[in-house]
Symmetry: C2
DNA sequence: AATTATAATATGCCTAGACATATCGGGGAA
DNA sequence: TTCCCCGATATGTCTAGGCATATTATAATT
């Protein structure tokens, strides 16, 4: 297929084409699949065969097929070969962003206002939410994310002071606790729960909305290896905010 | 570092260890980062250096470093080298599953009940939701996802009949429209919006909940290449359902 | 001092060949 | 027939070496 030998015995791709070879192959194979020419269950040619067809080394084919497998477009099994997957399950991923970054990206003036701040030993509720033994020292924060000086989201946060002792004296002036934590602690695991609730009187007052307005809630737990770092619940008035995510086929 | 030569001149890893070498290297480097031994901004040794240290080929190191880069733990730039990234942004991904698969996984009896079904030419609202010109033939469906014979979620769906003409005569008995579509059409792109709303009278009746209950909504648009396939809005009573997602560091 | 060429360096991509491993099929033994 | 072993096959991983390209540091020039 390819017809441009170069110097040496292994032509190292003097391509005028801007994209690497494995990607061109990835695109070509992907096209066969999404066009329907290769339906679900169709078996692709073997790596050595494709290598002959495309005139490249087997490893290059392997890289392209590996990418297709990463995208779940094909399934690969030794001896059985590579087959087109069933249409992908109705399952996708939603990115959950840092509120501050999100607002800044939208060109809005962002601020965080701390409402309450308490250092205490974890009570039963704290212990359950944060997943630490009762009595563990925690920092409990409530604050407001402001967009152009208007309430945008309400945040209720617990920080495990055993994991982050520096937080005990931090005042969170001009920086949100989320940002502050991220500049210090890399998390290795996170759990999210998304739900809905009707605003109670306190939430309504703080967010400047009517009582019983339907709100979106996001709870997030983060770990660093085995240690719990923080638990946070963010409450968004539904009419001001929607989580949006778009998933196009990633061109690698 | 490695001390077991094999036959030939290129020992092809007769490892007793179950994991491939590039993964062991990935783990070793990752440990340095998440432990804090290599803080953000730290520059890693170059590929040739690491290859000497670990006693393997440069390509194997490249695979391990590439994996770290995929996980956003490091940043790689030519000539500049590989550096430890800033702690990852507060951003994550949430998996949105097929309702049916989700319920089955939870060991619950699942059923779909069709409530209304209309074939029509797209009115203004249809056209806006589905993103097709007004007048395009569409199939409008409303149905209920049942868990153990109790209402679990309400689904409002539009299907573009130009993209999926077979849907015109399909009755969706015993199979949900989502499932049915997925068995036919692979989608290549999807957009999700998550929001909250208060149940109106109709929703409340269909879902057997009280009016004004806060509900979670998920809207999803899917494309196949450039063509719109379907638009769906699913409404979950908040007290019956939460979206949960957990993200641990993926061991490759 | 500011700008521009140049060399060095680290990653990115590729090749050809090799051994490793899972698994599918078929043939032979119980 | 049923079970087990064994060869064939396709992918998984690895090596050693090479050219390509972006970027940075340095030297030369204006």
């Amino acid at each position: 297929m390819r017809t441009e030998p170069v110097n040496g015995d292994t032509p190292a791709l003097p391509r005028a084409s801007a994209q690497p070879r494995y990607r061109a192959i990835y695109e070509a194979l992907r096209q066969k699949i999404v066009s329907g020419e290769w339906p679900a269950g169709h078996r692709l040619p073997s790596e050595p065969e494709l290598a002959r067809t495309f005139g490249c080394a087997r490893m290059t084919i392997g890289k392209a097929l590996g990418a297709l497998a990463d995208q779940r477009l094909v399934t690969r099994r030794r001896r059985a070969g590579t087959t087109v997957s069933r249409p992908r399950p109705q399952e996708s991923v939603l990115e959950i962003h840092d509120i501050e970054a999100e607002l800044l990206a939208a060109g809005v003036r962002y601020a965080y206002r701390s409402l309450t701040r308490r250092v205490r030993r974890a009570n039963a509720a704290d212990a359950a939410a944060l997943g630490v033994p009762p009595g563990t020292p925690v920092l409990a924060l409530v604050g407001l994310h402001l967009a152009d000086a208007r309430p945008h989201a309400l945040e209720e946060r617990l920080i495990n002071l055993e994991a982050v002792p520096e937080a005990r004296t931090e005042r969170f002036i001009g920086i949100s606790p989320g940002r502050w934590l991220l500049q210090r602690i890399p998390w290795t695991e996170a759990e999210h729960q998304i739900g809905a609730l009707s605003a109670d009187a306190t939430m309504a007052r703080r967010l400047a909305i009517r009582r019983n307005t339907a709100c979106l809630t996001i709870e997030r737990n983060t770990w660093r290896e085995e240690q719990r770092i923080t638990h946070v619940r963010v409450i968004y008035p539904y009419d001001q905010h929607r989580l949006v995510a778009r998933f196009r086929y990633r061109p690698l």
